[in-house]
């Protein structure tokens, strides 16, 4: 408990809305724990009763603050409630994004130091960033409120779709930014986008039967093995040939059709959505 109190004049000014936002925030924080100042505010004539004032204060300090991603979504017109649901996902936390950024920067440094083989390292890692993000967007092992969420009327299909889109739109620009200092042909910076999109679409389509983390792990292992085999054969960029790109596009479109076409009545690896 502090001995400091806001002066009556400053409290009246706060009630009248005549002070700056920083001082107002300070007074609101103090008011939440100070009965003496709450009483002064309640006695000011030109506001309602003490309960109304106290409720207004609580409305400012109690709600969960949105994280950076949530604030951006709200700025783009999403309701704060939906922004809170969508942005509360581990694969959008600062620590995760920092990890992704660090891995990609490492890959770019490797590419610049090791030449063509280094470029292959970047192209190996870049598609996995959005894939892993999607895998950790929704699921029993990821979301502590997963089971409770399933028992609510909110559309889980919509939640999965929004969170996945958000993860993809956050990680892809991150990887594209990381690719800017890449000392390689221009197409390298974008070549990984098609496999990345296809991998994410396959993971989402498979959620009907399998947890997304399992699908993402299987795809990652297959992708790394394919790269290793290609490098061993002396063609580290074989996974980015024209034929491979067409295959990614076909698989991606097919998987997206399966996912979007299955509708909200379907199951999420055996659980009801």
């Amino acid at each position: 408990m502090t001995d400091w109190h806001a002066s009556d004049a400053r409290l009246r000014a706060w009630v009248a809305g005549e002070i700056g936002s920083i001082e107002a925030a300070s007074i609101e924080q103090h008011l939440s724990g100070c009965g003496r100042c709450q009483a002064v505010v309640a006695d000011v004539d030109d506001v309602g009763g003490r309960d109304e004032v106290w409720l207004a204060i609580r409305d400012r300090i109690e709600p969960q603050p949105l994280n950076l991603v949530g604030r951006i979504l709200a700025r783009f017109g999403m309701t704060p409630g939906n922004a809170l649901l969508v942005s509360s996902v581990p694969s959008l936390s600062g620590a995760w994004l920092l990890g992704v950024g660090f891995s990609l920067v490492f890959a770019v440094v490797a590419a610049n130091v090791a030449g063509p083989r280094g470029v292959a390292v970047f192209l190996l890692l870049a598609p996995l960033a959005p894939l892993i993000g999607v895998a950790f967007a929704f699921g029993a092992e990821i979301d502590p409120l997963y089971e409770l969420t399933l028992s609510t009327p909110y559309s889980k299909f919509r939640l999965l779709l929004w969170r996945s889109c958000l993860v993809i739109t956050t990680t892809i620009p991150l990887a594209m930014l990381a690719a800017i200092p890449l000392d390689s042909p221009w197409w390298v910076a974008a070549a990984w986008l098609l496999p990345a999109t296809a991998f994410c679409a396959v993971t989402l389509a498979a959620t009907k039967w399998v947890e997304p983390q399992i699908t993402a792990l299987a795809i990652s292992v297959a992708w790394i093995l394919a790269h290793a085999v290609a490098a061993w054969r002396g063609d580290p960029l074989a996974a980015f040939s024209a034929a491979a790109m067409i295959a990614y596009a076909v698989v991606g479109i097919a998987a997206a059709t399966v996912f979007l076409g299955r509708g909200p009545a379907e199951t999420f690896h055996g659980r009801l959505l």
Partner: protein, 289 residues
């Protein structure tokens, strides 16, 4: 206030997890009021509640809740709009305050209007007596407070069907009494899964006993207690012939068993009847708790 019109019906429900049969031909009906669900660990109580909470699909049988089948998506969503569910264990999102968590759950329950939602969040937080800590981070709350917070989310929107899995775990006697007061004041169908027979005795008018995935008793609490009539004695010395015996607070030994072991016959409790029904010794009961 209890109505005997069935509001939930579970008919021939079976559920298997690989080789383990969790539920086998489970059939019962619920009506408005509080029904207790008793049974040892592994009896299938949590699986049954998860099926009724529309999280799991049964392998066999039908579940009708509030007059709707849960097989179709539209009907399921309608049920979920009137459903409150408390899981046995609940992890909380990192960094959330008590208010933030309940607010998050209220958004999932389609409380879109911010002002109305916040009023509802405050109402349920007050119902579990957590108003003073609503702005605190959940990680700073005690185990009992966290459990009450979990109960609070189940109360959002005053559900017509409330499924509670071990709601009194970790609560002190005063908090348990408050929870009983809140639940007994609701006009809803409440299924209360618990190991605490005293909660069932205090709150429920009906009880279902589940054992090894099957219903072994369904009826009034008084009827279950009556099955132990004449099978409970107090004596000065323990008698190993009894199914169960333990030293009571008055220094005498309480015996439960079909076989008369002497001493003074006393009125049975629900716990006595439960022990007798399961043929369980006190040592076994302690293991299952």
């Amino acid at each position: 206030m209890t109505s005997h019109e069935p509001t939930a019906a579970v008919t021939g429900v079976g559920k298997r997890f690989r080789r383990t049969r969790a539920l086998d031909d489970v059939t019962f009906q619920l009506s408005t009021g509080v029904t207790g669900l008793l049974g040892p660990n592994g009896a299938g109580k949590t699986t049954l509640l998860r099926i009724m909470a529309t999280i799991l699909t049964p392998d066999e049988g039908e579940v009708s809740l509030l007059g709707r089948s849960v097989r179709t998506a539209g009907q399921r969503t309608e049920v979920r709009r009137r459903l409150g569910y408390l899981p046995q264990e609940l992890d909380y999102p990192r960094g959330f305050t008590a208010f933030g968590f309940i607010d998050y759950m209220a958004i999932l329950k389609e409380w879109d209007d911010r002002t109305g939602r916040h009023a509802e969040v405050r109402r349920v937080i007050e119902a579990v007596q957590l108003t003073d800590v609503s702005a605190k981070k959940i990680r700073a709350l005690s185990g009992g407070m966290r459990r009450r917070l979990a109960v609070a989310q189940a109360l959002i929107g005053t559900p017509k069907l409330l499924l509670l899995d071990e709601p009194t775990t970790g609560l002190d006697p005063e908090q348990r009494v408050n929870l009983r007061r809140v639940l007994s004041g609701m006009d809803a169908t409440i299924l209360l899964s618990t190991h605490q027979t005293e909660d069932v005795e205090a709150l429920c008018d009906r009880v279902i006993v589940l054992d090894q995935g099957q219903v072994t008793f369904e009826g009034a609490v008084a009827d279950l207690v009556a099955t132990a009539e004449g099978s409970v004695w107090m004596a000065d010395e323990p008698d190993p012939r009894a199914l169960a015996h333990w030293k009571a607070g008055n220094g005498r030994y309480r015996h439960v068993g079909r076989e008369h072991v002497g001493g003074e016959q006393v009125a049975p409790t629900l716990e006595d009847a439960y022990l007798l029904m399961r043929g369980t010794t006190v040592d076994e009961l302690e293991v299952t708790r």
